[in-house]
């Protein structure tokens, strides 16, 4: 069997490197530097040390007892990435890539951000390592994640609003790629999800796979067996890839990725790439893309900035086609309900992204037996969303 991905970064027909020529040599250099670093015991030790003493890993698995009782079916377990430093799984990748950037002699890092969690994570890691940091963020996302914009600035990062296209994550990635192509000699681009040209989808998945490796051992210890179902929300797909990667070889564990169903099923009203998209090339990689018949990328909508993106990581496209992972959609309304549900039943306010995964669990857990277990990746906490949820619900703070 051919290894996945292959040496050109292809997961079956998905992935690859579709970027301007200027970035090709830097991508090759990045691939080589990363391959070397991951084989270097000192690098691995330093990363593991930082994950433990700075990021707060391992994160626990919590048994959601009241939620389980309320849903009346499978036992619900939560992998608590919300307890990571900065409040989401994004720090795992940010620390890994910034460590690599320092090793490569880069003095400046840039990042795109949607929900602001990746931007905050990179600003944090940059402060930790003394790197200059600039974060691109769509102006619509700046509005709905204002708290994170200020956090990034507190951390010493420069935040640049992107007022083009849909003013969301997609446009922030466009601007980051333009910056990188211009400043590639001094700058490392810390991509925040399993997206973009090779080696990013593979490298980000590997930095995030710590979630799955921990969870596999923890759930065995706490539940005495593997879960029947693992659920994660899928924006670009990094928290999902991080937890799924450990369970993919265990064929009897069902894996479900949850996309943003938004407010309707028409193109432009959602970010359901697997329901409404088709194969295409965006941001350097071939994957499922929401686009019109002329190959123009369509606008998307989700209540959650982190899921509001028209493409998806190429490995997810591969998992989708090979049917190893199923992808489902959860609408804005359902996600908002789940936001309240988890807050009230478990005392955990989830990120709106994560609330999509919780909503799916609320849908399926009641149909499962109480001896069965569902493991959800609780990718982040919802502090950043409190103001926006209040606004959506007509509450003035």
């Amino acid at each position: 069997m051919k290894p996945v991905p292959d040496s050109r970064g292809y997961f079956g027909p998905y992935g690859g490197r579709f970027v301007p020529e200027t970035l090709m040599a830097p991508l090759a250099e990045l691939t080589a530097a990363w391959q070397e670093a991951r084989r270097d015991r000192a690098f691995r030790r330093e990363l593991a040390g930082l994950l433990a003493t700075y990021c707060g890993r391992p994160t626990p698995i919590s048994h959601a007892a009241r939620l389980t009782r309320h849903l009346g079916g499978a036992q619900v377990f939560l992998k608590r990435e919300d307890l990571c430093h900065t409040g989401a799984h994004k720090i795992n990748n940010a620390v890994g890539q910034c460590l690599l950037a320092r090793r490569m002699g880069k003095v400046r890092v840039i990042a795109e951000t949607g929900a602001g969690q990746h931007g905050v994570a990179v600003a944090t890691a940059a402060a930790l390592f003394g790197l200059r940091c600039r974060v691109y963020m769509g102006t619509e996302d700046e509005r709905r994640q204002a708290l994170n914009v200020f956090r990034m600035k507190l951390l010493g990062a420069e935040v640049v609003g992107v007022d083009a296209g849909s003013r969301t994550l997609k446009d922030a990635i466009n601007e980051s790629l333009r910056d990188w192509v211009t400043n590639v000699a001094t700058t490392h681009y810390v991509l925040g999800s399993v997206l973009g040209p090779h080696p990013y989808p593979l490298m980000v998945r590997e930095f995030q796979s710590v979630i799955g490796s921990e969870a596999l051992l923890q759930i065995r210890a706490q539940h005495r067996s593997l879960p029947n179902l693992v659920v994660a929300c899928v924006g670009g797909g990094s928290n999902a890839a991080g937890i799924f990667s450990a369970f993919v070889p265990h064929r009897h564990v069902e894996l479900v990725g949850v996309e943003a169903g938004g407010r309707g099923t028409r193109l432009g009203e959602h970010a359901a790439r697997f329901a409404g998209g088709s194969p295409g090339v965006l941001h350097g990689t071939r994957s499922y893309v929401l686009q019109d018949q002329d190959g123009q990328v369509s606008p998307t909508h989700s209540v959650s900035a982190g899921l509001d993106y028209p493409a998806v990581g190429p490995e997810h496209a591969y998992w989708h086609d090979s049917r190893r992972v199923s992808y489902v959609q959860v609408a804005d309304r359902e996600a908002l309900d789940a936001f309240h549900l988890l807050s009230e039943f478990e005392g955990i306010v989830p990120a709106l992204e994560t609330a999509h995964a919780i909503a799916y669990v609320a849908r399926v857990a009641p149909r499962m037996a109480s001896a069965q277990a569902v493991l959800v990746n609780l990718s982040g906490r919802g502090d950043k969303d409190v103001v926006e949820v209040a606004r959506l619900e007509g509450v003035t703070l």
Binding site: R8, G16, R17, F18, V19, P20, E21, T22, L23, M24, A25, P26, A28, A164, G165, K170, D171, N174, L177, R178, V181, T182, V184, A185, S278, P279, G280, V281, L282, H283, G284, R286, V289, Q291, Q293, D294, G295, Q296, V297
Partner: protein
């Protein structure tokens, strides 16, 4: 067919000029104006027309071309429309046309069908901004079958191995990105550009056109001394943006293009 590009370079070379390659975005300010603008550029002395296919996410372009793509998309111009524009141009002009496009519109159109339709429309070459040589095999094969050239890019960051890989697929010229970065006007030309262009020409044994950031007659004149072709885009696109659909647009573009075309003469 691809002979037109070759002939254009040969004609310019014989006249002791670098070929003048003029870029505009198809459909900007309106689809109906593109043929008129192309004819104006031809009258001004353009040897090759580089026609941008508007795309929603132009990661290789600076603000000037991004705005142009937005205007063209707002006018409903997409790849099928661009092929229609070239077809129409061919009634009145033999100006060689190179499409400057992102891959996704072509991917959605279907590579094989695109190649056939592009050739039938009278397209001479296709340049993909985001398809490096490693990914270019299928496009090269599809275009070759119908006699359309694949135009490959090289950049200051390209390694020797990459330059050599490009040589294997290159047509009558390669496009050298004058500076690491996106399209757009810049104050100066990069130092060391001349040596880089000479090296690329030697390694690829192909003509080299220089573009990205060349926008004034002065910059054109300097690049023309050592490059086989000089591409000017943003300067023209900026002027189109300023004038919009004004009646004087073609005349103004012709005048601007003429000042650039004259600068391609080697003294």
């Amino acid at each position: 067919m691809s002979g037109r590009i070759d002939k254009a370079f040969a004609r310019a070379g014989k006249a002791k000029r670098a070929a003048f390659i003029a870029y505009i975005t198809a459909g900007d300010p309106a689809p109906a104006r593109t043929v008129v603008l192309a004819r104006a550029l031809e009258r001004a002395g353009a040897d090759i027309l580089e026609l941008g296919v508007p795309f929603t996410d132009p990661i290789a372009d600076g603000p000037t071309n991004q705005r142009a793509a937005e205007r063209a998309l707002a006018q409903g111009t997409s790849l099928p429309g661009v092929l229609g524009i070239v077809r129409e141009l061919r009634y009145s002009s033999e100006l060689p046309v190179v499409l400057f496009t992102y891959f996704n519109p072509v991917h959605a159109y279907g590579l094989a069908r695109f190649a056939v339709d592009a050739a039938a429309a009278g397209v001479d070459g296709v340049l993909f901004t985001d398809v490096p040589v490693e990914e270019a095999g299928a496009a090269h094969a599809a275009l070759r079958r119908v006699g359309v050239e694949l135009v490959l890019l090289l950049a200051p960051t390209s390694t020797r191995e990459r330059v050599k890989a490009v040589r294997k697929l290159a047509g009558s010229f390669v496009y050298f990105v004058a500076r690491a970065g996106v399209t757009g006007a810049r104050a100066t030309l990069e130092e060391g550009l001349e040596e880089q262009v000479r090296l690329v020409r030697r390694l690829t044994k192909t003509r080299v056109a220089v573009g990205f950031g060349v926008s004034t007659p002065d910059q054109v004149a300097r690049a023309a001394r050592f490059a086989d072709g000089v591409v000017v885009g943003s300067a023209l696109v900026e002027r189109i943006a300023e004038l919009g659909d004004a009646p004087e647009l073609p005349g103004e573009i012709e005048a601007l293009a003429r000042s650039l075309a004259i600068a391609t003469r080697r003294k």
